[in-house]
């Protein structure tokens, strides 16, 4: 496979770690990289990044958009973060320890860390952050991560104990959340008005590598290096985020050097940046993103309840053709819900090579043998036709649906495609279970726990197992994987889960697409790895003679 040389490893949740929303990655072309690692870093210059949407607020704990997390990730820090190889390492916490029964997690905090306003950071801030998230009046989308937390206790200024009601596999991951300043936010949280705090609009105070300078709504956000950052002052002295809602405009700005970094589309990456001047000005990176696209069945439909029909579909859908046709080959085939290369992933599962004969045979076994005048398969006098839904505004999914339509047509199955606005699709079809088939995507977190997607208890209207999957063996694997807190032990449960899912094909797992960032080549010190590029942003620098923005 073309992408085999990539070092693809685990999924990081941008949402949890707050890194620029692009998870982990491997590098393709960056000619200057090896030498730059040995160069002595210089301080200065401004890094100009682009955002497709404005940040929704400056306390990322209450936001769910990538922009807020990218900016918030530079202003705030968590107790732990993920290094180049996605191993957890201390950030505000110097070290941590689980009790033997996995129900107590103890953090030892770093000494001498100060908030941007000069106040010392202590264990009370950690306790407060937890209180703020779980407060019912705080509109935080991350409450579910702390449901199993019984209490959080400060033990002196440098130690925090977190007690869990039962072992919780995502415990450590959840503490990469942005720690909030108690001395500023407590009154607002107490009154249930955290959104109205000035720290949420234009005066955020964190412990991260950059301090907030200014923002203009819908226009830009300016940050400046924090000289007191615990790891030392970052090299790039200033970061400016420009809000440019059109991807086409962002691309033109990139060509005119108006921004230093942007995420490209597959077409831009492959065809429109393939000239020498661009290669001199920018380094291109690519790595599998943390989300996969799938073709989902409504398993309540008797036709799709038959596993042989789903397996036939898996054989009939040519994933390679999809990847080549839709994203110009910039993706990896998916065999299950975990990204290839992550610790929970296994390739020892049943695979479904493109095989029309086998697909026909499976359908025949399921009773689909006759054909009508239109060439469609017929059973009990009814032709095999159904409707596949996908959301508006995602060209990729539309194309996926179209290719699947033509591939299934060869089998004698008629597919209609309907494209519906996101909100309407969710509310009227997905949540009410009024669909036959869908083309959608799932994000994968840094932790492999996917209880809420696959467990049979999660099929109620507002829950996420909307396809209605229920398999007791899968349930057992999910429960066991969630309760165990030792990675070595969890691996077996998740491998088991993938075997079951591959056999069952409750959805046809299609592909993990690649994230395609480019960064100005004057930026040195980028050290791509399984965790992508932005994990060591504070170490990036521009050699003095290449610095572009020296004013101020």
């Amino acid at each position: 496979m073309k992408t085999a040389r990539l070092v693809a490893v685990a999924g990081i949740v941008a949402l949890v770690t707050g890194c620029a929303g692009d998870g982990d990655r491997a590098v393709e072309s960056a000619p200057m990289l090896p030498s730059s690692a040995s160069e002595a870093p210089a301080y200065g210059d401004t890094y100009i990044d682009s955002l497709l949407g404005d940040i929704s607020s400056l306390i990322p704990t209450i936001t769910s958009d990538g922009s807020s997390h990218a900016v918030g990730g530079l202003i705030y820090s968590g107790l732990v973060r993920y290094d180049k190889n996605l191993a957890p390492e201390g950030d505000l916490a110097e070290s941590w320890q689980f009790s033997t029964d996995c129900r107590r997690l103890t953090f030892r905090l770093r000494q001498g860390v100060r908030w941007h306003d000069g106040q010392p950071f202590t264990a009370d801030d950690v306790v407060f952050t937890w209180q703020a998230i779980v407060d019912p009046r705080t509109p935080s989308p991350y409450k579910a991560d702390y449901i199993d937390v019984e209490k959080v206790e400060a033990d002196g200024p440098q130690t925090v104990h977190v007690y869990y009601r039962q072992p919780y596999a995502k415990a450590l991951t959840s503490w990469s959340t942005w720690i909030l300043p108690r001395h500023l936010l407590e009154p607002y949280v107490r009154e249930g008005r955290i959104r109205e705090a000035p720290q949420n609009w234009n005066a955020p105070v964190g412990t991260g590598p950059y301090r907030f300078v200014s923002r203009r709504a819908g226009e830009r956000i300016v940050l400046v290096a924090n000289p007191d950052y615990w790891e030392g002052r970052p090299n790039l002295s200033r970061v400016v985020y420009r809000v440019i809602p059109s991807q086409a405009t962002t691309f033109l700005e990139l060509k005119a050097k108006g921004v230093d970094s942007a995420a490209l589309t597959a077409l831009q990456y492959k065809r429109q940046t393939d000239y020498p001047a661009f290669a001199r000005a920018y380094a291109k990176f690519h790595y599998p993103s943390n989300a996969y696209t799938y073709f989902g069945f409504n398993l309540r439909d008797p036709r799709f309840a038959d596993r042989r029909v789903r397996q036939a579909f898996a054989h009939a859908i040519n994933k390679r053709e999809l990847i080549d046709g839709v994203i110009l080959g910039l993706g990896k085939e998916a065999t299950g819900p975990y990204k290839p290369g992550t610790w929970a992933y296994t390739d020892h599962v049943k695979t479904y090579p493109y095989d029309m004969e086998r697909a026909r045979q499976l359908l025949a076994e399921a009773g689909w043998t006759e054909r009508n005048a239109d060439g469609l398969l017929v059973k009990d006098g009814r032709p095999f036709t159904f409707e596949v839904l996908t959301n508006q505004g995602n060209d990729e999914r539309k194309k996926v649906a179209e290719i699947i339509q033509s591939q299934l047509r060869e089998l004698g199955i008629g597919v209609e495609i309907r494209i519906i606005e996101w909100a309407a699709l969710l509310k009227e079809h997905i949540r009410k279970r009024r669909f036959e088939a869908i083309v959608l995507g799932w994000g994968t977190g840094i932790d492999p726990d996917q209880f809420v997607i696959w467990h049979s208890s999660q099929t109620a209207p507002e829950q996420m197992n909307h396809i209605g999957y229920a398999n007791p063996a899968a349930d057992r694997a999910l429960e066991a994987g969630r309760m165990a807190c030792v990675q070595a032990e969890r691996v077996q449960y998740y491998h088991r889960l993938q075997e079951i899912l591959a056999e069952d094909q409750p959805i046809v797992f299609l592909y993990f697409r690649e994230a395609l960032p480019v960064v100005s080549s004057r930026i040195h010190g980028i050290d791509p790895g399984p965790n992508g590029i932005s994990f060591n942003f504070t170490k990036w620098f521009v050699p003095r003679q290449l610095q572009r923005y020296t004013a101020g």
Binding site: V13, L15, V16, T46, D54, S56, S57, I59, I62, S64, S68, P136, R137, P139, S140, P141, Y142, K143, A144, R195, E196, N200, W201, S214, R216, A217, G218, E219, R220, V222, V240, R242, V243, P245, S246, A248, T249, L252, E253, K255, A256, G258, A291, W422, A423, A424, L426, K427, R431, G441, G443, G445, V452, I453, E462, Q463, M464, Y549, A551, G552
Partner: protein, 303 residues
């Protein structure tokens, strides 16, 4: 009405993220979305009477009025300049092609008008961006200010801001120009066929006076009407131009609020735009009396 659109703000946050979806119910309660619709509407109406438009559902939770206040000026500025340029160019073109009907000038402008009508905004915008922004590098392509704006000297700041407006205004003007010069031509053609123009000419008036004074004033009446009608669109902003040029104006705010089902901002926006539309129509009515004194005299004039 907006509640008839399916989906609500809480559901849209990270719809394909399993973690986020689990907090939906709590959030609905927080925003009062679990209340019946009429209860929600009445409580909204009560607050609006007191000029309280509430706070946005977005995580920033800012007052709706603040959000509108920071976006209205740039939209108004852009559109007023645009309108002004359109009028200054379209009226002479219209008049001339009417008085010289079927002349070469008329034919050329007719052609221009059809090109103008047929050119999609976004296409023209991208072409101009590529030409002036990427290839020539003369003009900035997006937003309103240079990233390093704070560090420029005062006059450079002013020029920087102005230069950011050139392309968006050029694009917005181009489409409008076509329409207005057509209207002007049509209404001028009608007027110069009237008897009173004949009599003005008959009494030996200078042709320039006939056209400039007698005909133009009457021909402007329909233009004022159309201007009045196009004001709501002007205040609402242009989504396409604002998106492509990354200008944080009213159009973008409205569209983003609709996609996020941010009801307070949508409602606030509608109220503000409606109010300004009423004001604009009042201004248009007053302008009639300037253009045509007969209206000002009113009942007394009829006797």
């Amino acid at each position: 009405m907006i509640h008839l659109a399916p989906g609500d703000p809480t559901e849209l946050a990270g719809a394909d993220d399993p973690v986020l979806q689990q907090s939906v119910e709590q959030m609905r309660k927080l925003y009062g979305l679990d209340q019946p619709l009429h209860v929600q509407y009445l409580s909204w109406l009560k607050r609006v009477v007191l000029l309280d438009f509430g706070r946005s559902f977005q995580p920033d939770g800012r007052p709706v009025l603040d959000k509108i206040r920071e976006r209205l000026p740039v939209t108004l500025l852009l559109n007023l300049i645009e309108m002004l340029i359109i009028l200054v160019i379209a009226i002479p073109i219209g008049v001339r092609s009417a008085t010289h009907q079927y002349s070469t000038f008329d034919k050329v402008t007719t052609l221009f008008v059809f090109v103008g009508f047929a050119t999609p905004d976004f296409w023209l915008a991208i072409l101009l961006q590529i030409l002036f922004g990427v290839h020539l590098g003369w003009l900035p392509m997006s937003q309103l200010r240079h990233p390093m704006w704070e560090y420029l000297p005062f006059w450079r700041q002013q020029w920087d801001f102005a230069s950011h407006l050139i392309l968006p205004i050029a694009v917005a003007t181009f489409g409008g120009l076509a329409g207005f010069s057509r209207y002007m031509r049509q209404s001028m053609l009608e007027v110069i066929r009237q008897d009173y123009i004949q009599s003005a000419r008959a009494k030996g008036l200078d042709e320039r006076k006939v056209i400039g004074k007698h005909a133009l004033r009457n021909a402007l009446m329909p233009i004022v009407t159309i201007l009045g009608l196009s004001l709501p669109g002007l205040i609402g902003g242009s989504v396409i131009v604002e998106t492509i040029f990354a200008i944080p104006g009213m159009g973008l705010l409205m569209v983003q609020s609709v996609f996020a089902r941010d009801y307070p901002v949508i409602m606030g926006n509608l109220v503000i735009v409606s109010t300004l539309t009423l004001v604009a129509n009042l201004i248009a009515d007053l302008t009639y009396s300037l253009v045509d004194p007969r209206i000002r005299v009113g009942r007394r004039g009829r006797r």
